[in-house]
Symmetry: D2
Subunit: 309 residues, 4 copies
């Protein structure tokens, strides 16, 4: 253990990214958060005890799973997800103070951002030249320089604000519903208490890749009344066609139905990696099917004990 517990977060940076913005929704720690240039380095900082926890993206409603995060959590030294943040992917057009929309002739941004705002740009800045650079955060910093040849940047709000830029147009992404989900990851340790609206993340390796193996796994959940919110196959890196499954299940490891499902998976799978039980960002309480509440499980255990005499 560390002599001194670190008192700051790490995150997948740089400063001014969406991950940074997502981090601001968390209860702040004493010290300033530290950005890391890759997901791997942010998670390694947790393992090394350099930060109390790190925030990294895990899933995007348009792009899908973030494989760097999924694979690092699966194959790296054990860590624990302790929370999640879901953030709308909202792009804003920022400029230096005094610039008006019709003054914008040259826009700097990242290729992803350019792609996701294509329709808005075509409709509102049809004649502007769009230049794609290395990050939206860097674009904002460049535009903040009065000597810049760029008039505006497309970036996250935080990048504009950090660079004291003025928003010219907000919510300009073509898909207004796009969101990214981030997870807060700490060292493996005790699991936080159940809140009644929790999610549990795990990775399942099948004993063999026989037909019906995935069906068998899903039935372990279904027969206990546990719903899944996410399932994603990932290669095991052994051979083509050999997959493991990253899964988010509704409920907390302290819920009897999820506990029994997990023990069932432990028995039928080659390996089950528990990545944490944590409060859901959307605070949605699970629908608990008839007969699967903690009370139902306790009553069944009492009944069995009585039968055994």
């Amino acid at each position: 253990m560390l002599a001194v517990q670190p008192s700051h977060y790490g995150y997948f940076g740089p400063v001014g990214t969406f991950t940074h913005q997502a981090l601001l929704t968390l209860p702040p720690l004493r010290d300033e958060p530290t950005p890391y240039p890759t997901v791997g380095l942010a998670l390694q900082a947790v393992r090394d005890g350099d930060v109390a926890a790190a925030l990294v993206p895990i899933e995007n409603s348009v792009e899908g799973g973030v494989t760097a995060t999924l694979d690092n959590l699966t194959y790296g030294e054990p860590l624990r997800i302790v929370g999640e943040v879901v953030l709308p992917v909202q792009f804003t057009l920022f400029a230096r103070n005094g610039t008006l929309l019709h003054d914008v002739h040259r826009v700097l941004t990242h290729p992803h951002a350019a792609a996701q705002c294509r329709d808005w740009l075509a409709a509102n800045l049809p004649d502007a030249i769009i230049t794609e650079g290395g990050s939206t955060a860097a674009a904002a910093a460049e535009v903040a320089d009065p000597r810049s040849r760029f008039d505006a940047a497309i970036c996250a709000d935080i990048a504009g604000e950090l660079n004291k830029l003025t928003p010219l147009a907000t919510r300009i992404a073509d898909n207004p519903d796009a969101v990214t989900r981030f997870v807060l990851v700490s060292r493996a340790g005790a699991v936080g208490p159940s809140t009644g609206a929790d999610k549990t993340t795990m990775v399942l390796f099948m004993r063999d890749n026989h037909p019906g193996a995935l069906l068998e796994i899903l039935e372990q959940f279904a027969s206990r009344g546990v719903n899944l919110c996410r399932i994603e196959s990932r290669p095991t890196k052994r051979s083509l066609g050999d997959y493991c499954f990253s899964v988010d299940a509704e409920g907390h490891i302290d819920d009897a139905r999820l506990a029994e499902a997990m023990m069932g998976l432990h028995r039928v799978c080659k390996d089950v990696i528990f990545l944490g039980s944590y409060p859901r960002a959307d605070l949605t309480e699970p629908i608990i099917p008839h007969g699967t509440s903690n009370d139902d499980y306790a009553a069944a255990a009492t009944w069995l004990q009585r039968l055994r005499g």
Copy 2:
């Protein structure tokens, strides 16, 4: 409780029936067994404490389930199956000492026995007159009377022997593989220890009769690796199409996989009536699917406990 524990068995009589013969395969109690004229009366004698236990037929490989037994165990005051006997249904042609096969012109037996020996009779006693009476045991008693107008009886060996008759032809049933299964029933109490080759009997009432309800029940067994040896639907006596299911599962209530299946059924069913865990007559040990041994269950529980921290 009784001041004095009864020291004899009851059985579905009369003396000389197959149930009586099956009873002789059990370890004897101090006193002579008592025959009862119906299954219901034999089981009531157990409830009333008149006998230590009663042996009654529950299933025949040709006729199917014995509904009097199934329904009494389901709807009557709780009892407990503590053992089973499987007996080949072997009929023998018995006559008075001195009678030879070609002397047999008149045969007395019960209609079921006559039906099950029809081919043998046609081949071996084509000209004999077959008379059907009330029971094979009574037929033997009648033939034992030197003044009887009948030359021979078709009955169980025990009836012939009790009446000091001589076997003229054995194993004369047309279906040589027919067997009857009997269960030994005692008052509800502590369950006997697991022997490694056990069977558990229970009755399952579904919460509602929705399509797929039976599938749901079977999945409770399958997802824990528990095999069924018998499943029989019985009407719940409420309305046509409303069934309960009498089930024999491999294993003992002390086996983790069966215990979890039973708790699962307790949660999803309207009612589960446990009728006992007891040694199998055939001493066959169950095939335990990968991941479902007691050790696997214990390892899973330990793993979960460790995760919870």
Copy 3:
């Protein structure tokens, strides 16, 4: 084929039984129906072409399946169920004209009827002597004789009416909801048209008795959205623990979802015995799950054909 088509029904008699009463609910044929003393003889009369069709009981809401009928249809020469009748099991106390209820001291009936009216008799005729004879129909005939020493008979309405007796008390069965289901059986031939509220009866023999075999069978129905109204295991008469399943499924063999399920069963079962598609007595139309209507099946076939190019 017969030179002359028979123009009357057979039924499980004698005259005056519930089966006879059930027969009267059917559209009459030209000639009087013929009673047969056993289910087997009634069905054999169909096979022999002696009757156009026979009505036999198949299931009782209290007693369960009628094994004589189930086994004869399964193992005998193929027949076809073409209709069903569901009849409340209503007992009536009949006496000779002029007898009043308080005159009744001696009652004659069949043991089943006595058992099913026990509470009513205890409450209304506490001092009467109840004698159990061979059939309720015979009891009515006996009471009809002015010289009879019996004052009343418990029997079906039809038996009272045929014997010109007077009802003293109706609906005296302790379980007012008990019903018996009868099936009308003809020789195998073309199936009648779908009515939209049909039932299909079949018997399923599993290829081997492996664990999960029943689950596999049920999934053939479930995956096509076919609900079951009845499932009953019957011994195959080979060895203990070897069962076949008698099943009633909602729908008609001309319904695409049932046809596909049946073809699936034909592929996975050792044998499938089709016993007929016929209108339901309760006229209840099935709930057709999303995507399983005939139109849905036709659209899927068209889609596939188009894909194949």
Copy 4:
């Protein structure tokens, strides 16, 4: 339709990539293949009729699915997969003629290649400076220039050969089993004939995202005896937690079991996108479970037809 059918392939370039190398395993067309800078542009060239077909990567045994390919095939104008190539990801260290391994001080390659050869470089060129550039193909071209300050490139064999470089060390990837799977994509049209060792790719959109929806889909395959080789969830881009599933199933759309499964999916899914049936690269014939061969399906159809009369 085009006046002139194009007589060359397109592929995800540039020249000298693994996709290019995979393309060389296909039967050549008359004209030289055309590289495209993105998967999207390569597939668009197919749609536009500029190329006869395009080869693009779809899956890597280490990195997982290629989302650009998966999403373009799912959401773009319909295309058809007509073949696949599986290629080991083998990196080679190439240098100009005359350079020996101990002369290598500066290596140029792409970041992915550097990462996948890290252990080999540490063991064999511990003191070399590794520079990461835009593509392995470009690295080979740079090293081919005698004035280059780089001594060697890590790239695919094809890039080394095209640039007339000399291999210094082959198979230097740390994971020797890594493979990439490519698909050959043409315009939608008639499906090629079954070869007995085929694969079918499709994308499944669930009607609603209810718990158990994935289980329901998998059962459509399982109940017909169809095995899956790959299943991958992808966001539908509507909301977080709304997925579609990209699936490779064993067999050909002309196989009865797969055809019935696909029709079943068409009925229960919101949408099924058929992406093609094509010969498997590994030539592995599927295990056909009992009762699911084309003959079994044909026999079941004949049986049903006969029953219907």
